[in-house]
Amino acid sequence: MSTPSRAMRNPAASFALIGLALAWLGLMVGLPLAIVFVEAFKKGFEIAREKVLEPDALAAVRLTLLVAAICVPLNALFGLAAAWAVTKFDFRGKNLLVTLIDLPFSVSPVISGLVWVLLFGASGWFGPWLRDHDLKIVFALPGLVLATLFVSLPFVARELIPLMQAQGRDEEHAAATLGAGPLRTFVLVTLPNVRWALLYGILLSTARAMGEFGAVSVVSGHIRGATNTLPLHIEVLYNDYDMVGAFACAALLASLALVTLAAKAALEHLHPDGLARGAGR
């Protein structure tokens, strides 16, 4: 363990620092979250419940879950494949691949939505062709899925790559000398070694997929009850001055995020060694 810093040896200084950090977090994170719930239930629990159970709101919840249910498995699969390729093999263009995986982190979500409109929108590259074949991507479910896929793409790979790098290739090599083929090695050796990190990445990816606003906003078209995900529905309600409705739905969305957060915390507590942060022992 590193030697304690001066602040840690001085109780007054450490209380002040911890207090400052907590106060800041309370102001910036705790307070807004509390306001969401307070506003949602201001006119009573029943009203809030009704707002959430409105057909349009329910449709938004269903759509949000559907998009997440499509995107998260795809990203888990891609993340696993990418991390496996990057950490267990040497090939040309490896650095390029790693950089590309990070791209969605650095690009504004609006751009990741706009790209699909430019490609598949009515006046986009493939717009006429799509219209001729009566296919709809933008302002429909496929567009929402594409936009969400893009923004939630890096999470699984980013979680797996450092862990798999720390674990090295020795176990895979040992499996090879023991007569195991690539599939057997992957299923019995590689995958079990990263299972908790994979789950962790899936949780992060899910949280992002459900909460994404910017990218989805561009491709959605905001058709109530049809192409509005929960975050978009909240915006619509808010713009309609339906404060209780907006906050009730926001409370629901925040609850989904809190559940994800709790699962993530539990995972960190139960399997610290299985995650990238615990791999350096």
Partner: protein, 352 residues
Amino acid sequence: MTEPSPAIGAALKVSGVVKRFGRSAALEGADVEVREGEILALLGPSGSGKTTLLRIIAGLEQPDAGTVTFQGRDLLSIPPRHRRIGMVFQHYALFRHMTAAQNIAFGLKAKPRAERPTGKAIAERVQALLERVQLGEMAKRFPAQLSGGQRQRVALARALAIQPDLLLLDEPFGALDAKVRVELRGWVRQLQGELNLTTVFVTHDQEEALELADRVAVMRLGKVVQTGSPSELYASPADPFVFEFLGGCVRLPVTLTEGGGHFGGWAAERVGAGGEAAGEASAHVRPEAVEVSREGPGLPAVVAEARPVGARTRLLVRLNGAADPVELAVDGVSDLAPGAPVFLRPRRFQVF
């Protein structure tokens, strides 16, 4: 500079193997032959290419040039999983989420259906191997719950489970503390003798190589410099590098004569071939082949320091006119004190 090829029983033949990583070369034409049933040590300092050579034999790296054959078959065209080579990795590479027993069973379960033993037979084999490596009680432990020496033995049992034709060990004792290391060394020697399994191991520890191996291949800068039995290598190293790597070495000025030489009038035997024939030269001498006498003839020197180390005494002596002292050791507790004049009398020497 390798010895003439042993025609009989060369099971593994490595010739002209070259391997480059980017711009740096790990192997620059390595040749080595391993005889059936023997233990061969690949001995060299770090960066000499010994581990790369071992990984090429196992199939974990592909050489850029050269051939590797085992019992006449070309190994390089066979994927690692079909080579029937047992490998123990430097850090054991045990499957961390499997118990000791599951680790050992892995290779048996991975066999093609036709060759795979039944579940019951596998369980029996695993138990027998656990007993063999003295870990019968540890079957259900995970690698993280085992000590270094125990992990090493599980790794060995796992490699032996597939009944390999060849066993490779990468720095097998490097990560263990001194006591466990000596214990395991004797034990591996015994086990290998019982199985009569052709074995190659990599080490940078000359003591380990000399003690465990039937023959030692000394590597330097991506090449095998000399191969021979430990006593051959120790007695007649092919070059100054091997001489210095395989034991203690002191450099003393010698006057060469026909067939020998003398140190200040003390005649000594010259071993090994090559080098100058006559005149003044610098001799390579093993410290234990130097007698320290109070009387001449011999090379005159002065004791700089005398320190008892167990049953021996370590002496630092300064030759007349020399800047750096020479380190020697004499048996018993010496009564030589710093400042005492002495004469050095080497029995054997080598000039390169």
